[in-house]
């Protein structure tokens, strides 16, 4: 699971009002190279919740991102930042671990890089 996915997911258990961001429990992180696609990064950048993204990158052991979200124009001018953003967003994978609902503590397991977001019968 990439951090882009983490940034999009929340706990949707019935009754939970604040299921985002999910806390990451790391068992194994792997890095997989992905070709940089500038247009894609530009498109997705404004949709990222930066605080959740920043915190998640720390948990995954990556400390190069700035705490405050830069202006979108930085993606054009600062190649170094673009590379870091790309790396944190798409190249870090949570291979094994869990996503934990911040409100209830319910664990959504991540195995072989696939988050299992399906709810139990009594959570629907």
């Amino acid at each position: 699971m990439r951090l882009l996915t983490h940034n999009m997911l929340s706990s949707n258990i019935k009754g939970v009002t604040n299921g985002f961001p999910l806390r990451i429990e790391v068992e194994k992180v792997v890095e997989k190279q992905v070709e940089i696609n500038h247009d894609f990064l530009m498109n997705i950048f404004p949709k990222i919740d930066w605080k959740a993204f920043f915190d998640a990158s720390r948990v995954m052991g990556y400390v190069e991102l700035p705490e405050e979200a830069p202006e979108p124009s930085v993606l054009e001018s600062d190649l170094e930042f673009l590379r870091k953003f790309h790396h944190a967003l798409l190249e870090l994978h949570l291979e094994e671990g869990a996503l934990v609902c911040p409100e209830t503590g319910r664990k959504f397991p991540v195995n072989k890089g696939i988050p299992n977001m399906l709810l139990h019968e009594d959570e629907v």
């Binding site: 999009m8 949707n12 399906l118």
Partner: protein, 483 residues
């Protein structure tokens, strides 16, 4: 400028929508004054050759430039070629007259002595011997070709295409008069894609994997392209996303069945390996999620450029959603999972009717697609139902831009719907959509309820009424989109 557009004689209903959607992708409608999607007329002008049936593979289409024409032709699946027409006629004398009077400034740049060329003779509805082909090529000697012939890799491709006046049988459209076309090829489909991606050589397959040709057509309807993000909420073995990835899009998929998305049939036979097999970039994300209760965070919207899917209609595979049995035998209270069993609990699922599924899909797409983004999905139709026509699901955020039917059996067919998001998602529109959905459900969807479609498709025919026999006898020789 008007171009001659020749199609492969397949999937007739899919041909023009494919060209229209690619024309839009390659900017054919861009300099229209009106920036509002909802009211824009994003359609091409089409014209038929004299006396041709609408199902004919020969069409004329008006395109803004040769670049657009080439881009469309090279990316399409069903366009055999787009040609600059130098002349047409119902006899070779008429053709000669037409080609001779075609302006020299359009012809001469392609006939220069430094260039190489090739002439291909093609026919529709008949077969020509090599000798006949040669005779026809020599018959073109009135055109001042100065270049060298190169059959392997010519600079310019010329085509001489002929239809006969007797092509009314054998499943071909009725062409009344003989017509001959001569033109310069601008571009043509790369049909090699289809054998490369054909399902029989795919390592990981499921029972409802989408065949390669159709998956490419879907990706074209969705305008998959580099820099875009494409989502499939019923990803299965990833067969639709493979085609989107081929066109350079980033892909993301979800499925309710974790065995399909996570495990596959082992380390070298899973959704990832299907992308690896063709050297395509891996999906950005695969996850297990329920389309009925999507896990996207509150406030997240307009992230996907396209959503492409083949929802489960319950004919070959039925849909499931979370929240299975609420009560266990003998227990009156609501079903609860004991705390000590929670960690490894495997939740049961409940049946998910197509009607509910389509409603959820439209709601998800309305929220998660960017403006102008496309929702492309299959929708089943019962063929005995005469009232089909306009009974497709609707949503106030979307405009239906194309419907293409593919007949699957004498009982039912599937229609590929292409919808473009024209209004942004608001709570009011979501409410209006719910009301529309209930109306739709009330009026014409009894058969979409659970299991009904399956039984309509598979229940034994009513033999006593003899309609089976009648339909066999009355089957017309030319069957149009039934080919």
């Amino acid at each position: 400028m008007w171009y001659l557009c020749v199609f492969y004689h397949r999937l007739l209903d899919y041909r023009k929508p494919e060209v229209e959607s690619l024309a839009d992708l390659f900017g054919a409608f861009e300099d229209k004054q009106n920036p509002d999607f909802a009211t824009q007329n994003r359609a091409l002008e089409w014209r038929l050759p004299k006396h041709h049936h609408p199902d004919s593979p020969f069409h004329f289409v008006n395109l803004p430039s040769e670049d657009v024409a080439r881009n469309i032709a090279n990316r399409s699946i069903l366009v055999k070629g787009i040609y600059e027409l130098w002349g047409e006629g119902s006899s070779y004398e008429e053709l000669k007259e037409a080609v001779t009077s075609y302006p020299d400034e359009r012809k001469l740049p392609y006939l220069e002595s430094e260039s190489t060329f090739k002439i291909t003779v093609d026919s529709f509805g008949k077969v020509m011997s090599l000798h006949e082909q040669k005779t026809r090529i020599w018959g073109l000697s009135y055109i001042p070709f100065k270049g060298q012939v190169n059959l392997k890799n010519p600079d310019h491709n010329f085509w001489l295409m002929e239809t006969d006046d007797n092509a009314t049988t054998n499943g071909l459209p009725p062409v009344v008069h003989r017509r001959i076309f001569f033109g310069r090829e601008v571009g043509g489909a790369d049909r090699k894609l289809i054998p490369t991606y054909q399902l029989k050589s795919r390592t990981y397959l499921g029972p409802t994997a989408m065949d390669a040709e159709m998956a490419f057509l879907m990706a074209n309807q969705a305008q998959a392209a580099p820099g875009k993000l494409v989502y499939d909420p019923f990803v299965g073995t990833g067969s639709i996303l493979v085609s989107a990835a081929h066109f350079g899009a980033m892909t993301m998929g979800a499925d309710i069945d974790i065995r399909v998305v996570r495990d596959g049939r082992g380390p070298d036979c899973n959704v990832w390996s299907n992308f690896k097999q063709y050297g395509l970039p891996m999906p950005i994300a695969l996850l297990r999620a329920d389309n009925n209760l999507p896990p996207w965070r509150h406030g997240l919207k307009e992230v996907f450029d396209a959503i492409i899917c083949d929802p489960p209609y319950g004919v070959r595979a039925g849909g499931r959603k979370s929240g299975g049995r609420k009560l266990l035998k003998g227990i009156v209270g609501p079903y609860t999972v004991p705390d000590d069993k929670r960690a490894d609990h495997i939740p049961s699922t409940a049946p998910y009717s197509l009607l509910e599924c389509v409603h959820d899909l439209l709601d998800l797409a309305a929220r998660m697609l960017v403006m102008g983004g496309r929702l492309v999905f299959f929708y089943p139709v019962l063929r005995e139902d005469d009232s089909v026509g306009d009974h497709f699901p609707e949503h106030p955020c979307f405009k239906l831009v194309a419907t293409s039917e593919q007949i699957l059996s004498s009982r039912y067919s599937r229609v590929l719907l292409t919808m473009v998001k024209t209004s942004s998602y608001t709570e009011e529109l979501a409410l209006a959509a719910r009301i529309k959905h209930l109306e739709f459900k009330e009026n014409h969807t009894k058969w979409l309820e659970n299991g009904n479609l399956h039984s309509s498709v598979f229940s034994p025919a009513d033999i006593e009424s003899g309609d089976l026999k009648v339909s066999k006898e009355s089957k017309p020789k030319y069957r149009g989109k039934y080919v």
